[in-house]
């Protein structure tokens, strides 16, 4: 028994809380590290697929972080990427089968992007940067935190894109009918991918003007 195991730190120590909550704002995978942009553009036309995607990614990233962290001392460094990919791929197939079984419509909308979770840079990034060097519990928290940080941005983008692009939220019409009678028209550009990119840009802008220390100095 080493010395550090003797004095156990509490489950939600300040350090662990930071692992969980940091990625939601100041260390956000999308807006700060700019990872995982591709799926943020592809699945955010409607709110429902975005939420499902956010949950799927969170599950995959949390569980794979946990598994890799448990295996971290037995993985030979030379083949670590392959091992990581096997773990992620297995989890993604599980998630895919689960979605097909229980939410078939959404699974059809997400189509190839569920499979592409394997290549999501956030997951590989967290495995390499965190799970390979940390214990299981902090790794799990880190995975959940990053998954939520990714999911929150996805949901914000999808909310605005669905509201302005289709006039609905979760498939329910929210923009009152009399506005359409006045000549209001849904914004077709919100449905196109470039607008997701611009929305990400606006979120980054808002976030940085609220937290001045995030602005890079050159």
């Amino acid at each position: 028994m080493s010395a550090e195991n003797l004095e156990r730190e509490p489950l939600f120590s300040a350090k662990n809380k930071k692992l969980l909550l940091g990625p939601i704002n100041k260390d956000n995978p999308i807006t700060i590290q700019v990872l995982g942009i591709c799926s943020a553009l592809a699945v955010t036309v409607k709110l429902e697929p975005a939420v499902v995607m956010a949950i799927s990614v969170t599950v995959v990233i949390a569980v794979s972080n946990l598994v890799i962290s448990l295996l971290r001392n037995t993985i030979p460094p030379r083949i670590r990427i392959i091992v990581q990919l096997v773990v992620i791929a297995a989890l993604v197939i599980l998630v895919d089968q689960f979605l097909k079984a229980y939410v078939y419509d959404v699974s059809k909308q997400l189509s190839v992007f569920v499979g592409l979770i394997i290549t999501n840079c956030i997951i590989m990034g967290r495995l390499e940067a965190f799970a390979m060097a940390n214990k299981p519990w902090p790794s799990l928290l880190d995975g959940i935190g990053n998954g939520i940080g990714y999911g929150i941005i996805l949901i914000i983008i999808a909310f605005f894109r669905e509201l302005l692009g289709s006039g609905t939220i979760w498939g329910i019409h929210v923009i009152p009918k009399f506005l359409y009678d006045f000549g209001y028209v849904n914004n077709g550009m919100m449905i196109l991918p470039p607008m997701a990119l611009i929305t990400v840009g606006i979120i980054i802008w808002v976030q940085r003007s609220r937290n001045r220390e995030l602005i890079e100095k050159n």
Binding site: G183, Y184, V185, N187, G188, M189, M190, L192, I198, G201, W205
Partner: protein, 385 residues
């Protein structure tokens, strides 16, 4: 004049830092320099300060737009009464057009300047003059029947996303007025394409097809459906965006810009050359009816003339080097005709061509400058050896 100067000098201290309206300093500064040429002197380096500063430059462009604007206002009325088959006086036509066009201009200026002033106050910098021109260009490239709130939304988008996020006038990559139009085109396609929108309050029985849409539909039918003569299109008595129809009025504007040295003749001519060359090539190819349209028609159809004179020459988004200007202009002409003819889904190729080349302008400049450096190095070497 004297009295105005005195009054401004009197209220000036209140707007200085620490004054009662200190926070509105940049607004005050904008109005003062708008009314009078600033008497600032520089201290370091060699600078020549000219009467023709940014504000005076921009105003000349607005003056150059006046022929196109006046003609456009009349044409809106003319097209409307032509579709309803009424015979009215010239004044009635002009008045109808004025009622349609003036609100669009007001909305564009109010929204755009409002955003510019807000940003200037928040960021505590001077108010940029760029919007004086953009605010006039935006209405001129809109269809006459466009809903006003769409003008407001697209202007706001263009000013915020197209300009302010890059740092304001002088920093933008894309021409703001074209950004507004492109936004409108992709966001509300039903209101800026098709045959219904180009004549204000069109009578249903009357076909409102523009030359471009007639040309595009002649691909499918196999016969040339163009009903307008070259002369009509040159004079501008055709349906279309408010200011873009009359090549004649635009030429007047081009004359003003070239004589005052504000618009680059080099860019204008190379755009025309690009259009003619591409039109000629397509004539030779001649695979469908659109390609067989005489090449000089391309210069007067749609927004080609307007884009050439007022959009491609925008000093901020165009290339800066002389050789770069030739390449940039030529490619705009080529792409405009190419997009028009080969992709009828985008009838207005000019808008997309200019935006595309706006993005490439810094790259072109970079290679021109690099090439110049290399050439001079080569010239130096034999002298050494």
């Amino acid at each position: 004049m004297k009295a105005l100067r005195k009054y401004i000098d009197k209220i000036k201290p209140q707007f200085q830092h620490g004054g009662r309206f200190g926070m509105l300093h940049s607004t005050f500064d904008a109005f003062e320099t708008f009314l009078f040429v600033p008497n600032k002197t520089t201290y370091a380096g060699s600078h020549i300060r000219d009467y023709v500063d940014m504000k005076r430059t921009m105003i000349i462009v607005v003056i150059a737009l006046v022929p196109a604007l006046l003609f456009g206002i009349w044409n809106v009325g003319f097209q409307h009464f032509r579709s309803t088959l009424e015979t009215v006086t010239l004044w009635d036509q002009f008045f109808f057009g004025l009622i349609k066009v003036l609100p669009i201009i007001v909305v564009s200026y109010v929204v755009g300047l409002g955003i510019e002033f807000t940003f200037a106050q928040v960021r505590k910098h001077e108010i940029n003059e760029g919007f004086l021109v953009s605010g006039m260009l935006i209405p001129l490239i809109m269809p006459p029947g466009i809903p006003l709130w769409m003008v407001a939304v697209s202007t706001a988008f263009a000013v915020i996303i197209g300009k302010e996020v890059f740092g304001g006038t002088g920093m933008n990559l894309l021409n703001p007025a074209l950004t507004a139009r492109a936004f409108l085109f992709f966001a509300y396609p039903a209101h800026i394409s098709g045959d219904r929108v180009w004549i204000a309050e069109k009578a249903d029985a009357f076909s409102g097809a523009t030359p471009l849409s007639q040309a595009a539909s002649s691909i499918d039918s196999g016969v040339n459906e163009l009903t307008y003569s070259f002369q009509d299109m040159f004079l501008g008595i055709i349906p279309g965006s408010i200011g873009e129809t009359s090549a004649l009025a635009i030429l007047l504007g081009a004359f003003i810009l070239v004589v005052t040295g504000i618009g680059s003749l080099r860019i204008m001519l190379s755009v025309v050359a690009g259009g003619v060359v591409m039109g000629g090539l397509l004539n030779l190819w001649g695979a469908n009816t659109y390609m067989e349209i005489p090449l000089h028609y391309h210069l007067v159809m749609g927004g080609f003339a307007f884009g050439t004179v007022f959009m491609a020459t925008d000093p901020v988004t165009a290339t800066q080097t002389n050789r770069g200007k030739l390449i940039y202009g030529f490619l705009i002409g080529v792409f405009a005709v190419l997009i028009r003819v080969l992709n009828p889904a985008y009838p207005e190729g000019m808008m997309l061509a200019i935006l595309l080349m706006n993005v490439f302008a810094p790259l072109i400049d970079h290679y021109v400058v690099e090439g110049n450096i290399k050439r001079r190095f080569r010239r130096m070497k034999p002298a050494k050896a």
